[in-house]
Amino acid sequence: MNRLEADARHPVRFTLNGKAVEAEAEPRTLLSDFLRQQLGATGTHVGCEHGVCGACTIVVDDMLTRACLTLAVQVDGCDIRTVEGIAPSPDRLSALQRAFRRNHALQCGFCTAGILMSLDHYLSRHPAPTEEEIRELLSGHLCRCTGYTPIIRAALEAARLATSSEETSDA
């Protein structure tokens, strides 16, 4: 890996929700700050900056990643997905997002982006999860408002609806 000069700013290029982006970052700049402050992608939130709360969770090259534990310069050339990229269009919500809304799975919404990213990523690989699996997955996210069960319900409901609609479309 190239050695980067500490005080200099370095260009960082990657795809963010399918679009090419480019900006400059100091080597010490966190990816969470870079997304929010340089790129204006403020949907990713920061709750602890030490990897515990999960609010900053995003997907980097198909892997769930804590943006607060990642340096911006590390993701040069990567493919990044954040909460801004989940909905099919600005005025429509995804099935998972709709399930969240129906189930009152959010209150303040501050933890929500990270949780959505984890679930979106997980459900695409595990379409029929059990409650235990979802609880296990989300144990890396802190939510102070909801008491979690509505989130679990929303996740299970989204999975169930996705599977049943697939079955119908297959039929």
């Binding site: 709360c53 997002q97 809304r101 919404g109 319900r153």
Partner: protein, 1003 residues
């Protein structure tokens, strides 16, 4: 279970075309689409004015110390730094925050000449960006002279305790006694007396979004414009304005559209509002500050911890005749507004759900070297009910009856409402017997008891706990004056009531806007208001647009505005209804004149204003609504305008304290009855909630989904308080839970779904019949779980949080000391940050040579990793700057080491201290050298060290391991050097600098 869960969840009550009112339905929230797609507008998501500077705060590593000097020169010289403020500069442009009791003390948002808690601000650096500001903060060097610290509310009252404020002699900020009825007689006459001592711990609801402030100062008009995620109460606006030395109309305080949770906690942002506003004024530019999580945990705000002794006089049948409360409230290092409100918020409710006529109360407020306290969900309730409901269980045990029977025996009679408690609360409505009966039935209490029997028969540890709680809501702004004597109150003038406000606006196309000053923090106020107002106007919620941002320069607000004391549903939503009805009354008159009917015949339905008798005779709502804009001349004379209407509402029941100190501290009183079954693992002593049943009567339910959301959320936080969470301090005031890996919040794997049961007894005192609901489980759940754990383990006393280590001590006694001769250091434990160790190393070269190496300071700089600079003060006294990393924390330390008892070349004793932004430490050690008989040296060492400050709070768990690793590495390297015989080599001082930087014996 999951299936059932999904089914109830799907039934979002959106049903179109039915005639039911919108209020009472679980419609989808208007807030959610934006929040779900990353379009929330939290304070850190909003743009700032070009040229805005960013602040970082340097904080005290000491719990109690004098500030001897602050050197900010290096920080100021750093490129990008605009200003550096210390207490002195802040003092020059502000005045002290007002203190809630009559005493000659000051309360500054930054330390002036002394620090009194770990995390107290010492300097504010303002720079072009946050990273620069943090860089500069590291360059500030502060010279402290430590004082002894006190963290225990009882200890602080001891004669020998260090005094925090001269204006609070003996650390006592307030001491009041109250007497209602004839408690002495009741105690004298009663056949039984039961007592309990409890210590309620410190914790906090820690919202996931931290504090944020953006402040600017207009020097031309001497006016401040501040955006902060402050939650109210707006009585604090007056405190801020006074501190900034401007009249209220020159303090424009605004809130962002979204806030990431608060639970009371964001009331505590106000000292930072003052601090950042002062910085903006000095810098002459807007300044932004976003708190980080470490700052939040260490120094934002916390609930109070409290030591309580509660006694009850009890009749033979279990009837409680009198209570005697002795409460010692620990408000931390400063008595910050609105404290001591936590202690007085419950003052009318000290008898809980019970009919007890004789009450004695002694309330003491003390200060200790901990973070100042403030609002936190439950606000005073958890502390009170923990004592009261633990005592009820104690009474049951003592009398050999079921706790449920003691509860039932004492509940206020259903026909007694509105019921005036002994200490003055007017309980608005309820039927506690019925609620308990429904919970017992619906929650299958009998089945739970059978479950316990079965578990116990198998030798498992299973217990059942109960709690009955009255949940107050809508605070009387005058309750806090109960801390003053009646004579003092007469002097300051009456304080009472709780003005709620709501504004309805109709625009030129007849669409409806609602504005309130309720400052939601995620509770969905906008949705509920759209339901309430839609019902009045015969519209749909989607037709109503609600704005809940507040701007004190333009909006209707009062000191009672804000989001606290569960006042939204009861007060604010009701006020919105009143405002909408007032507008609707005028619209009805206008429509009546247009439709040629009597106003009494007008109804609002499905987007029309129509004649009740002849529904075909109607006019579109929007047409009538727009008329005030387009054709005021055609309005009937008595109609008035319908463009904008603001209603203020304050309930007459909220009167000031009377001369006997009786206070109706809150307007509404919900009822909660909880019971639970817990199982405790015999081996790990981990507590698992088997079943939790919570019955709520919060009056009329406006939105069932949100009410359940409040209950679940409060329950989860309360479970954390019961089982995991504590803001822990070492005896010397070091803060021990400084990260979310140390301050443990419950996660999906720990929080079960409680069974929620509802009953609705409307409040006669609120426009919608609603009462508050959000705080109740924070009051009921901790004690309910504690009662269950006590039942499971047969314990008389339990202290929260019920972590396995604590239960192990209670069940098995304190852990025995390790077998003697056990090598090296004991691990550092919470509350014990002493590190001790010993070890040895073999070195080539005779002791004389090793001795010279150890004492050679000239080569230090090159051999101590991270050593920036060494100053030799004398032959036996050195100073050095070193950079060290422990776990997640790397920081710069200044080390000061002296040598004693030199016995060349055999032994030396050393003593050192180190200090840096991340912490401080002191150490004492001894090194002995002896020939090994093969021409080399056998070196043995021992050390006794202590550390404190941030490194203790965030790296504490790693310290013991880090110590051994670093010291081991040092001697390995020393041995290598000695073997190679290279020039330079290592020295005693290198070891000392290392050691002292990290650890070190108390002096």
């Amino acid at each position: 279970m999951v299936q059932a869960a999904v089914r109830t969840a799907i039934s979002c009550d959106q049903g179109k075309g039915d005639e039911r009112p919108w209020v009472g339905r679980s419609i989808e929230r208007v807030e959610d689409a934006g929040l779900l797609s990353g379009r929330g507008r939290f304070i850190d998501d909003l743009g700032v004015q070009p040229g805005t500077l960013h602040a970082a705060i340097l904080r005290s590593p000491h719990a109690h110390a004098d500030i001897l000097a602050i050197d900010t020169e290096a920080a100021k010289r750093l490129a990008g730094v605009a200003v550096v403020l210390t207490g002195e500069q802040v003092k020059a442009v502000t005045s002290s925050l007002v203190v809630g009791v009559k005493a000659p003390v000051e309360c500054w948002p930054i330390a002036t000449d002394r620090v009194r808690y770990v995390g107290e601000p010492v300097a504010v650096v303002v720079a072009t960006d946050r990273a620069r500001a943090e860089d500069a903060a590291e360059l500030i060097s502060v010279e402290y002279r430590p004082r002894s610290a006190v963290v225990d509310p009882l200890g602080t009252l001891a004669r020998e305790a260090p005094v925090l404020h001269d204006g609070f002699p003996g650390n006592l900020a307030s001491d009041r006694t109250f007497r209602y009825g004839d408690p002495e007689q009741a105690f004298a006459d009663a056949p039984h007396r039961f007592s309990i001592d409890v210590k309620y711990p410190r914790n906090s609801c820690t919202p996931i979004e931290t504090y944020g402030v953006i402040a600017s100062h207009d020097a031309a008009e001497d006016a401040f414009d501040i955006l902060a995620n402050f939650q109210g109460p707006f009585s604090i606006h007056t405190v801020i304005a006074r501190a900034l030395k401007v009249p209220g109309n020159r303090l424009r305080l605004r809130t962002p559209p979204d806030s990431g949770g608060s639970f009371g906690v964001k009331q505590g942002v106000f000292p930072y509002i003052v601090l950042i506003a002062a910085a903006a004024r000095v810098a002459g530019r807007p300044v932004k500050w976003i708190e980080d999580r470490l700052e939040h945990l260490a120094a934002s705000v916390s609930a109070t911890n409290r030591a309580t002794t509660l006694s009850a006089a009890v009749a033979a049948d279990g009837k409680i005749l009198a209570l005697d409360w002795d409460q010692i409230e620990d408000c931390g290092a400063h008595l910050r507004a609105p404290e001591p409100a936590t202690l007085y918020r419950m003052h009318g409710n000290m008898t809980g759900a019970y009919d007890i006529r004789h009450v004695k109360i002694r309330n003491r407020v003390v200060v200790t070297n901990k973070t100042p306290t403030g609002l936190n969900r439950g606000f005073g309730g958890p502390q009170v009910y923990f004592a009261l409901e633990r005592l009820v269980q104690r009474i049951a045990l003592g009398l050999g009856v079921e706790p449920l029977d003691v509860i039932r025996r004492n509940l206020i009679e259903a026909n007694a409402f509105p019921y005036r408690t002994a200490s003055g609360a007017l309980l608005d409505s309820g039927n506690y017997q019925e609620a308990v009966a429904r919970a017992i039935e619906g929650g299958k209490f009998a089945e739970l008891k059978a479950r316990r029997d079965e578990a116990r028969a198998q030798g498992r540890l299973y217990g059942i706990g109960l709690a009955a709680v009255v949940e107050p809501s809508v605070s009387n702004m005058g309750y806090i004056t109960t801390v003053l004597t009646a004579a003092e109150r007469r002097k300051t003038g009456p304080k009472n009531g709780a003005q709620a406000t709501a504004t309805i606006g109709l625009d030129p196309v007849g669409s409806v806007t609602v504005h309130v000053a309720s400052v939601p923090q995620g509770q969905g106020h906008r949705t509920v208001l759209s339901q309430v107002v839609a019902d009045v106007f015969g519209l749909e919620p989607k037709d109503i647009r609600v704005n809940t941002e507040i701007d004190t320069a333009k909006d209707a607000w009062s000191i009672a505005s804000g989001n606290y004391a569960s006042r939204f549903a009861a007060a604010v939503a009701g006020t919105a209804k009143l405002a909408a009805e007032r507008v609707a009354g005028r619209l009805a008159r206008i429509a009546a004149s247009q439709l040629n009917v009597e106003p009494a015949d007008i109804v609002f339905t499905r987007g029309f204003v129509a004649s009740r008798h002849n529904p075909e005779n109607r006019i579109a709502f929007s047409r009538v609504a727009a008329l005030s804009h387009w054709s005021p001349g055609s309005l009937p004379d008595d109609a008035g305008q319908t463009i904008r209407e603001t209603v203020f509402w304050t309930p007459p029941e909220l009167t000031p304290p009377d001369d006997e100190d009786r206070i109706n501290s809150s307007l509404c009183h919900g009822f909660i009855f909880d019971f639970c079954g817990v199982e405790i693992d015999r081996t790990t002593l981990e507590t698992r909630i088997d079943r939790y049943v919570t019955m709520h009567d919060c009056g009329t339910i406006l939105h069932p989904g949100m009410v359940n959301g409040q209950i679940r959320g409060g329950f989860a936080q309360a479970l954390g308080a019961a089982l995991y969470e504590e803001y822990a301090y070492a005896d010397d005031g070091s803060f021990l839970t400084g990260t979310l890996a140390d301050y443990l919040l419950p996660t999906t794997t720990e929080v079960p779904e409680p069974q929620i049961i509802h009953m609705e007894t409307p409040s006669p005192f609120t426009p919608l019949g609603a009462k508050g609901v959000g705080e109740g489980n924070c009051m009921s759940t901790p004690v309910c779980v504690a009662n269950a754990v006590a039942d499971a383990l047969g314990l008389v006393d339990v202290t929260l949080p019920l972590v396995p280590a604590r239960l192990a001590e209670l069940v098995r006694g304190a852990e025995p000391p390790p077998p003697s001769g056990h090598p090296i250091a004991r691990p550092a434990r919470q509350g014990d940050r002493q590190l001790r160790g010993e070890g040895q190393a073999s070195l080539k070269g005779a002791p004389e040579r090793v001795w010279r190496m150890l004492l050679d300071p000239a080569t230090l700089q090159s051999v101590i990793p991270g050593c920036q600079r060494v100053d030799k003060i004398s032959e036996t006294h050195f100073r050095a700057d070193v950079t060290l990393g422990i776990g997640p924390v790397t920081g710069r330390y200044r080390a000061d080491v002296e040598l004693f008892d030199l016995e060349p070349p055999r032994a030396v004793r050393l003593r050192g201290a180190a200090e840096g932004a991340l912490g401080f430490g002191s150490a004492e050690g001894r090194i002995m050298l002896a020939p090994d008989g093969r021409g080399g040296t056998q070196l043995t060492y021992s050390y006794d060290a202590a550390i404190g400050g941030k490194v203790a709070s965030i790296g504490g768990r790693l310290l013991d391991g880090a110590t051994r690793v670093i010291i081991g590495q040092f001697f390995a390297a020393l041995a290598r050097k000695a073997g190679g015989g290279a020039a330079g080599g290592f020295s005693l001082f290198a070891w000392l600098a290392k050691l002292a930087s990290l650890f070190g014996g108390r002096r």
